[in-house]
Assembly symmetry: C2
Homo-oligomer: 346 residues x 2
Amino acid sequence: MKRKKISMKDISKELGISITTISFIVNNKAENKISKEVIKKVEDYIQKVGYKPNSSAQSLRTGKSKSIVFMAEDISDPFFSAIAKQMEEIAFKNGYNIIYCSTENDRERTLELLTLFKGQVDAFIITPPENFENDLRKLIYEDQQTVMVFDRYFKNFKHNYVVLENFEGAQKAVTGFYESGRRNIAFVGIDSQLSPLVERHEGYLNMINKLQLPAYELFLKFDQVKTPTGMAAISNFLEENPNIDSILFATNNLAINGLRVIREKQIKIPEDLAIISFDERDVFELYSPPISVIAQPISELAKELINGTLEILASKKEKMHFFTKILPGELIVRDSLHKVKNLSSS
Amino acid sequence: MKRKKISMKDISKELGISITTISFIVNNKAENKISKEVIKKVEDYIQKVGYKPNSSAQSLRTGKSKSIVFMAEDISDPFFSAIAKQMEEIAFKNGYNIIYCSTENDRERTLELLTLFKGQVDAFIITPPENFENDLRKLIYEDQQTVMVFDRYFKNFKHNYVVLENFEGAQKAVTGFYESGRRNIAFVGIDSQLSPLVERHEGYLNMINKLQLPAYELFLKFDQVKTPTGMAAISNFLEENPNIDSILFATNNLAINGLRVIREKQIKIPEDLAIISFDERDVFELYSPPISVIAQPISELAKELINGTLEILASKKEKMHFFTKILPGELIVRDSLHKVKNLSSS
DNA sequence: GCTGCCTAGTAAAACGTTTTACTATACCGT
DNA sequence: ACGGTATAGTAAAACGTTTTACTAGGCAGC
């Protein structure tokens, strides 16, 4: 069958028409330069032989690769992979490929990935790891790369980003606990400077203070979150603070490890302890009892991320203003948060 | 800062050395052609200015893009995204990018994706959708693309693939049920011709027959799996067969919908019903009680997939034999499968 | 009959590599 | 002094596009 890849030169030769003309037609720039007949002839031939432009040659000539890299913290995390999927769909419709990789929240690794991709992709959609502020600034302001930051952001310099309303999300959670009758509300977070972690904590504290409640706080190290060490820490925390009647977990992984502890200790949810976690995840809905969450609006986040990025890419160098979106999370109330007073009647 | 991207020509001019020489040095082909001093000089300069070859130009010249597309059924599915993550890591170390997309098990969509990527990537790692046999054969034998098939395979023509030992996996599950004292073992599957679905069913039937047990079977339509309609079907199935004491779910999504039904009907696991599902998923481990599974060896699958693909790409056109791997699943016994006789004592 | 301006199209350079075929010099044995 | 060969390097073509600047011819206006 068709063995050799066909090029514009081949078409040119076959049809006795210059390469330039072919190119115009292929790129829909023939409108007022080339006659209808020639256009038709070329288009028909292209159709017939199934010609497809060589993208390397296009990239070489135009300097645009039509691909974007998505550097997630962990592409196998359901949150990031859901975002990835929806972005890919939109990107594809706009003629862009998405390459993915995982930073593992590791600065060195991220830098390595970055240098590999620099010059090879048109844009970076990235969840910067811890301590990446300066590297990111360099990437944007020195290397002049198109960068969309996701999930977390920095205050000390301007950049494009799409993030959640973390502060308000935490407030909503605390309010939810309060309204269900809880008065000893704990926060389990991560010892990190990343904006969502900081803001979730601040939102918690803010509302606790407003309500004049006592604060109970536990912070795990980043690398303990998914480990038995992390479980032990949570376990201790609960033992040392027996009057805690509710916990807000700052991330889904934290909550999952928390649930392991709670199950082990045979603590009853929501009777003994009410639970809210950040981030939706199917295990929360299926858990017994179902766990309440502050859900991130995944579709909207993905849309803003990719559309924002495409918009920036399209706007050439017209120094458009920075693209920043802060989307609200939604408190989804499930059985893990049933009102205290209702418990006796159920 | 460094505004303009630097090229071999620039280095050539700056150092008064021919482009050819630069190229040899950059590609480590200078060994016995270029003097140590020149090599050193060029390498130092490259280091200093941070030169990086333009990958479009390389692709154009060599005809290799150094990228692979991973067409998963659904990249947001934890199984596929876990595979994706591990493949990416290995690919990266070998100088390859991975582009991803989701077929949604939709033939038209997959064909569209395929034509986009044809010629643009060096290889396809793909989970072909339903009814894709002929399209896949064409892709491999007419278009002569490098293709690695994943998760499912076809019997009627040779191709590279990596799949699970589905038949044996189902056997293990049935045996597990049997050994825990169950005698009325049901199979909930999907009405599909895809090899894993067919083989899981066959494995179930085979072992049921061997053990001389009655078969109870339910097949959902593919698009009902995650829906309330699917739940209703499972619910009916259970009502119509009240003596079923165990269910093997052919996929994790099936099991998840099944668990919803079971929770709704307040059926007790494992007292009233033992459960095993194909595919590991964190919700299974965290569920109360934890759900037993036939786990796929994710790391091994990912390694075989990407290493196999890289191997084929490296072996040029030497018509190597087809790369086929069939990896065993592991029955992970959790509380959903406790022995019947033990129940009274617990 | 000339200028100017359309229309429909083309020639050729450029993008940044890789690779083949070549050259210039030196040295060595006879 | 000569051929042979090893060493160190280079010139130039090719990959397949896009795009700028051009042309050939026709026609309108005067």
